[in-house]
């Protein structure tokens, strides 16, 4: 079956603009995670959804970052007033059941803020 998909694969935006990044998890996976991977670093946790609700959003760096998952499937990561430091690869992962299941990763969205 289809794995986790993310769109767009690449996004270039100007400083100060608003962007939305989309994640389609594996069908039936109730847990969804967002990570950010900066150059030369490992993935950094941002937020974890269990169903429609954010179970842990402690990794969101500031209030410019927000994520939703209104129907418990597709999730959107929203970044307001983008800054050059937001440039990174944004990864999404999903897993069955609760937070203990294996996480399956998407290909990522490469965000470049100019």
């Amino acid at each position: 079956g289809a794995g986790v998909s993310q769109t767009p694969s690449n996004k270039v935006t100007e400083k100060g603009k608003y962007v939305e990044l989309r994640c389609d998890p594996i069908s039936g996976h109730t847990a969804l995670y967002w990570y950010r991977q900066s150059l030369g670093q490992g993935p950094e946790f941002l937020i974890y959804f269990q169903g429609t609700g954010a179970a842990d959003d402690s990794g969101l760096p500031n209030d410019r970052f927000f994520a939703v998952r209104p129907e418990g499937s597709v999730s959107t990561l929203k970044i307001q007033r983008t800054e050059r430091g937001d440039s990174a690869v944004y990864l999404c992962a999903s897993s069955e059941g609760g937070g203990s299941g294996e996480q399956y990763f998407g290909p990522g969205t490469r965000l470049t803020v100019t």
């Binding site: 794995g3 995670y33 990570y35 030369g40 670093q41 490992g42 993935p43 950094e44 946790f45 974890y48 179970a55 842990d56 402690s58 990794g59 990864l91 609760g98 937070g99 203990s100 294996e102 996480q103 399956y104 990763f105 998407g106 290909p107 990522g108």
Partner: protein, 107 residues
Amino acid sequence: AQRVTQPEKLLSVFKGAPVELKCNYSYSGSPELFWYVQYSRQRLQLLLRHISRESIKGFTADLNKGETSFHLKKPFAQEEDSAMYYCALRGNDKIIFGKGTRLHILP
């Protein structure tokens, strides 16, 4: 503080030689430890986890709680092992990754 340390950014090993990728962690409690791998132009994927005690693609990793280490080992490197390897731990449902080690297998 929860932390995963991979001291080597790059490790070059000749084909057929043994491989050891180092990983140390800091966690107050009993974490679950993993190794993830990312091959060129592919997505990040789970290689192995300590609780399963499996050997995947010839790789093994033993959790040493005394040394807080989870080093990844393979007795004989193969060219297809060239990839980026990330050690990670899970605590409270979220996964914390190390910075990664690029393994380069020399012919």
